[in-house]
């Protein structure tokens, strides 16, 4: 009755004065679905906007400011100028040339035959692969173990699927006489991890190399996780978008290649991160057919296809990389080599201005401890926010340097304990890194 009254009132308002329609009366009942409650805040939306509003040197969001390799740009141009079919729908679960080469390429990497049409789903970026995985496998009240710090979307995606995030942190192991200086020094406690598994645990999410920390999980660390997955019959969701970006001899290991893990792992990859073309939004999920088929069901009922031309270009890219794999011409070797220089450059710069970086073994990012900095964050608009958020906003507005607060990568429960780190992206032109260095030096003087 209230709704009918409200609707009638709305109609009367419309008739009475066409410009004063109070839309709040249009629907007296709740407009939005409950599944999106509590997931409306998004750090990327907020901080991308802020970085756009102020003129900043942007070491915030994780995308290169240099061009993708020319051969991949050419591949896209070639696809665009290809026949009609490049501009029309392709196969729903992945453009055939792309899934075929992914099967071939990753079959060789993982040491396990991969069926192009059963074991692979192409998605709109790795982001959508994550979404399909959670929606396909997580039910109301299922628990999903998430290792902190984590790429922020895992938590709201689990929530949207009705599941419950169970968090276990990487902790810096204190070294003799000093702080933990590399991402390798941040480890899981095996006992603590084991304690998080229970009969309601549906999945565990791992991210290696890790965003934001840059940790590259060693085989032994993955084995501990694998043992628990097998013991408790849990699915492993392995986000490996930065799989080619390892430094200083760190080796990327695919948990799906460990015994007993292929049939229970979804491995997620990214064309955007592999080819420095994040705007193409081509990603994939690879796993055993019986699991991937459920991701396909979500996909066919949500987006149905991904863009054809971009998939064709990524397929060409992988074809080239398949042939050049392990050789100096391989972009998958050249890119980490190039980024390693930038990583070292940024680390040196941060150290020299008193910001202690944690040197990442892999990935796009470096985090830095800001607790030693004494800054007057006199901004009433950020009064109630965590310290690192306030600091990052101050840095954007006052110094023109964009970074990301690391507490965004922690669960709501643990955020308050990790307010003293900020994240830098070093996958930038040297000129950008130089400009950042200038800002930091001026500030520390």
């Amino acid at each position: 009755m209230l709704r009918r009254v409200a609707a009638n009132v709305a109609v009367n308002s419309w008739k009475g004065n066409i410009f004063e329609l109070d839309h709040k009366l249009i629907m007296a009942r709740q407009l939005h679905a409950r599944r999106i409650e509590g997931i409306d805040k998004n750090i990327w939306v907020d901080f991308t906007q802020l970085a756009a509003d102020y003129k900043v040197v942007n070491l915030g969001q994780g995308f290169p400011d240099f061009s993708p390799p020319s051969y991949i740009q050419e591949a896209l141009c070639k696809a665009v100028n290809g026949g009609c079919s490049m501009h029309q729908y392709t196969h729903a679960f992945g453009h055939p040339p792309l899934v075929s080469i992914l099967a071939k390429f990753f079959g060789r990497v993982v040491g396990h035959e991969i069926d192009a049409f059963e074991d692979i789903l192409v998605t709109v970026g790795a982001y959508q692969a994550l979404f399909c995985t959670f929606q396909a496998l997580v039910d109301e009240d299922d628990e999903v173990i998430i290792i902190e710090p984590f790429f922020d979307c895992y938590q709201p995606m689990v929530k949207m699927a009705g599941g419950k995030g169970v968090y276990v942190p990487l902790r810096p192991v204190s070294m003799e006489g000093g702080k933990a200086l590399t991402s390798a020094d941040w480890v899981l406690s095996s006992e603590e991890l084991a304690s998080k598994f229970n009969p309601r645990t549906k999945a565990i999410v791992i991210n290696t190399p890790n965003n934001p920390l840059g940790k590259v999980y060693k085989r032994e660390e993955l084995q501990v996780i694998a043992d628990l997955c097998i013991k408790h019959d849990v699915v492993c969701i392995s986000d490996e978008v930065y799989e080619w970006l390892t430094y200083d001899g760190a080796k990327h290991v695919k948990i799906a290649s460990l015994p007993g893990m292929w049939e229970r792992t979804v491995t997620i990859g990214s064309g955007g991160k592999s080819f420095s073309a994040t705007g193409w939004k081509v990603g994939w999920a690879i796993g055993a057919g019986p699991i991937v088929k459920h991701l396909k069901t979500v996909h066919q009922n949500s987006v149905y296809h991904c863009a054809t031309a971009a998939q064709e270009a990524v397929a060409q890219g992988f074809q080239r990389e398949y042939e050049l794999f392990g050789t100096p011409e391989s972009y998958f070797l050249q890119l980490p080599e190039m980024l390693n220089q930038k990583r070292k450059k940024l680390a040196t710069c941060l150290e020299s201005v008193g910001l202690q970086p944690i040197l990442p073994e892999g990935g796009y990012f470096m985090i830095s401890d800001i607790s030693s900095l004494k800054v007057d964050l006199n901004d009433p608009s950020t009064q109630d926010e965590p310290h690192d958020y306030r600091f990052v906003k101050w840095l954007i507005k006052e110094k023109g340097l964009a970074t990301i607060p690391v507490s965004a990568f922690y669960s709501p429960e643990h955020r308050k304990d990790f307010q003293n780190y900020i994240r830098f992206c070093f996958v930038k032109e040297d000129s950008t890194l130089n400009a950042a260095e200038d800002i930091l030096r001026k500030w520390s003087d």
Binding site: L31, Q128, M160, G260
Partner: protein, 462 residues
């Protein structure tokens, strides 16, 4: 899903075998979507692709029962388009199932994409809810169409195709336990999307006006019964989905028809989801009306459109939702938690295309009008061909598709099996016996023609 539609199909079309079959032909469209695993397997055999493979367990140990799917996707795994796009990969098979053009997109749109791909920053992430130049271009074009300003950042969301907009809308606004009214015949994804959101689809059919001759039927002759429609609204009705121009029939809802729907939306306080992906494909003598422009409707309507259908680039998979901020913001929440952003160079290219056509709006050179003129010729040719060979097409007022009554052909199909609907057997027979690429097509052609391929069919008829 298939059982519900099967029941509705049989209960709503009682008026004799002729009409039953005619409507049954339309029902074949439902059959495409509602093929059971068994019939899909047999369909795939005669389509000559292995689209349902037996999952091989030799390579992996049997996964446990805990790896079963979540409840939300239970029963939603069948999708006939999945099977039919596989056909496109097989060069011996003519794919007339899915709705995409085989005419090339306009050159300026392809050029815009090539240009965008050459710009470094256009290969990286853009704004999540829509690339700024695209949402601004959309705001311009649709501001003109709607006759009021549309905020590019708060009232527009760019999505992965019209499909992605439908999904974002359902996930954002449809709650478990809600009812959503869907008008039959409907684009097949509406029902599984409603079910995935935990809601119940409530179906109501368009019906052929009872005094209509079966030759020279137009999609305008398929109408809703206002009383029947009113009876579908309950206290649980959260939304009604309309699709105008309609896929598959091609109906363009008149202002009066939309007014009836909007009166009910306002009376019952429901939302309206208006799928208008074919909005520019309007043939002579008809006018596309946006239900969101009717009084009281802007604030309760999400209008969905498609770059793929607008510019004949279905493989670009870009679409958009337009609506009031208090609804769009919820779709944006879904977007930021599902795929976050759409591809940048494609969005830039669509923006350039829109800006070019915005300048030409109302003129014959505008692609929004010129495509409709081109397709109208093809529509008329196809209709003539079908009529010549004794079939009765339903002449669409808009859109890509034409539905056809094949009963006049009186084709007896006892050898095609007993337990399937006639229309399904007919299409199966047609494909198996009559259609191969580059061979002379027999008179008995497809049920639902996507008549962008008219030149192809025409040639093989000669």
């Amino acid at each position: 899903m298939w059982l519900e539609l099967e029941r509705s199909r049989h209960t709503h079309f009682p008026l004799g075998i002729h009409i039953f079959l005619q409507l049954n032909i339309v029902g074949l469209f439902f059959s495409y979507m509602n093929i059971t695993r068994r019939t899909l397997s047999s369909a795939c055999r005669w389509i000559n692709i292995n689209c349902i493979r037996n999952i091989s367990y030799s390579q992996c140990a049997m996964t446990s029962s805990r790896h079963i799917n979540s409840k939300r996707i239970e029963g939603l795994d069948k999708n006939v388009w999945v099977a039919f796009t596989s056909v496109a990969a097989d060069p011996t098979i003519v794919n007339l199932g899915q709705g995409y053009p085989d005419i090339p997109p306009p050159a300026y749109v392809k050029e815009a994409l090539a240009n965008a791909a050459a710009v470094d920053k256009l290969n990286q992430y853009t704004r999540g809810f829509g690339h700024p130049s695209l949402v601004k271009a959309l705001s311009q074009v649709y501001g003109k169409v709607y006759g009021h300003q549309i905020d590019p950042f708060k009232e527009i969301l760019v999505t992965v195709g019209g499909y992605g907009s439908l999904f974002s809308t359902m996930q954002a606004l449809v709650e478990v336990g809600d009812e959503v009214i869907i008008i039959e015949p409907f684009f097949d994804c509406y029902v599984p999307m409603v079910r995935m959101a935990g809601a119940t689809p409530v179906l109501i059919p368009l019906r052929l006006r009872s005094n209509k001759e079966t030759s020279s039927v137009s999609s305008a002759d398929w109408v809703l019964d206002p009383e029947e429609l009113a009876s579908k609204f309950t206290s649980k009705t959260k939304a009604i989905i309309i699709n105008t121009p309609n896929n598959p029939i091609g109906k363009i809802f008149t202002k009066g028809e939309l007014q009836t729907i909007s009166d009910l939306c306002i009376k019952h306080d429901t939302l309206c989801i208006s799928d208008e992906v074919y909005e520019w494909l309007i043939y002579k003598g008809h006018q596309h009306i946006k239900i969101a422009t009717l009084p009281g409707m802007w604030d309760r309507t999400i209008t969905i459109s498609s770059a793929g259908k607008t510019f004949s680039v279905t493989g670009w998979k870009l679409g958009w939702s337009i609506g009031p901020e208090h609804l769009i913001k919820h779709l944006q929440t879904v977007m930021q938690n599902t795929l976050y952003t759409c591809p940048t160079p494609l969005q830039e290219a669509v923006a350039q295309g829109l800006l070019r056509d915005y300048e030409l709006m109302g003129q014959p050179e505008c692609y929004f009008s010129s495509l409709a003129v081109e397709l109208e010729g093809k529509r008329d040719r196809m209709a003539a061909i079908l009529q010549d060979v004794g079939m009765s097409p339903i002449i669409p007022e808009g859109g890509y598709f034409m539905c056809v009554d094949v009963t006049p052909l009186n084709q007896d199909l006892p050898h095609m099996g007993d337990d399937e609907p006639y229309d399904y057997k007919f299409v199966k027979w047609m494909i198996k016996e009559k259609v191969r690429k580059n061979q002379q097509l027999d008179a008995t052609s497809y049920l639902r023609f996507k008549w962008h391929t008219i030149p192809f069919i025409y040639l093989t008829f000669v």
